[in-house]
Symmetry: C2
Subunit: 222 residues, 2 copies
């Protein structure tokens, strides 16, 4: 059985867990404490990041988008990057939006300060950084709202890797209780549809020691 080195509240790991779930690929999950910078782990992925996907024969693939593209090329239905070259570009553009822009402007500010800083031994959360993250959430939820008003799913008519990538980041921020869903009805309906997918349900069971997600986090009808 293949395996996945991951962290429960890491959006990039969640992205691959959902991809595996959608494609019905069973993989064993192993938590990798990246802050320990284990020599064996760094020899597999010198970037020191999760997720890392390990095939049965020991072959390793790291970096979430590269793993997602690899699984898309090697596995069966359902396709998650599909359609014309233009439609595929739109899916990849939105993956990049959330993995880079949302990650830099929201995830790192909020998850980084509130959770990761503690594990990395980097001291107390900075309230200034957290405020900056809050201010940026609005732009991004507004963008999801805008897309969800015009399209059935973020990149078009069908569920794609763009939705998976966005929901992976959103779910981590929602775990922190930092999303005012009542202000974003279209985005909320989009997220509710993703929460109800069998591939997504296991993520909602994750618990980080010393933290407690808000009551609505697991609720499919939030």
């Amino acid at each position: 059985m293949p395996s996945l080195l991951h962290l429960p509240l890491d959006p990039f790991s969640r992205k691959i867990r959902i991809v595996l779930g959608e494609k019905k690929i069973t993989a064993s999950l192993a938590v990798e404490p990246i802050w320990e910078r284990r020599h064996e782990f760094l020899s597999i992925n010198p970037a020191g990041t999760v997720p890392v996907f390990i095939e049965d024969d020991g072959t390793t693939i790291s970096t979430s988008q590269a793993i997602a593209e690899y699984l898309e090329e090697t596995s069966t239905e359902p396709a998650l990057i599909f359609g014309t070259a233009l439609q595929r570009a739109e899916i990849r553009r939105l993956c990049n939006w959330f993995d880079v822009k949302f990650n830099t402007e929201v995830t790192e500010y909020l998850l980084g300060e509130k959770i990761m800083k503690r594990f990395l031994g980097l001291g107390e959360p900075s309230s200034e950084t957290i405020r900056a993250g809050y201010a940026n959430i609005d732009t991004h939820l507004g963008y999801i709202e805008y897309l969800a008003e015009q399209r059935a799913w973020l990149a078009g008519d069908n569920f794609s890797l763009a939705d998976i990538t966005a929901a992976s980041h959103i779910s981590c921020i929602d775990y922190l209780g930092d999303i005012a869903w009542e202000d974003y009805q279209q985005a909320k309906q989009w997220y509710a549809r993703i929460k109800s997918r069998p591939s997504f349900r296991p993520l909602l069971q994750d618990l980080i020691p010393g933290t407690q997600p808000p009551a609505h986090y697991k609720n499919l009808d939030f």
Copy 2:
């Protein structure tokens, strides 16, 4: 003729210019002053970033990796993302390494402080940030050195999008005169081979007003 909205010293724009050059696709280049946040430009790419590729029929594609994948899927030889799914994953892993990790740890610290801050009207460069960028260069050049010792090109036996992505970032930092090439002989030889490619030569002619690259920057035998 298709066109490309770009900035001369932007590594992501350079990546697509090299891809177009390798694939012998002629495109007109138009400088986009992203700091002006033109309404028309933001309606094309709400991320407000270059490059944006515009097809003859007006179709627009943004985000450099998405454009590169699009050009790979729609155009002819030479292939830049090739081989088995595993080899393709390695190419994409390295693209991500430079577009995300190198960009965050080096490009934004050095190019961001020394050049972009002025255009964005964000004040004087921070010497602390610049020092952090300098400290990070060594890790990354060391990694290129390590790869170049083991492989003909960064991702394996053949020139790929990984080399293009790395060289795009490296070339911007080299424009600033910030790379101590004498410490990295293998990396230097790898970069010299890229500099001599016809697709790369035009980039070396770029000049940013008020700046002057070091003497070795344009020199193919540096």
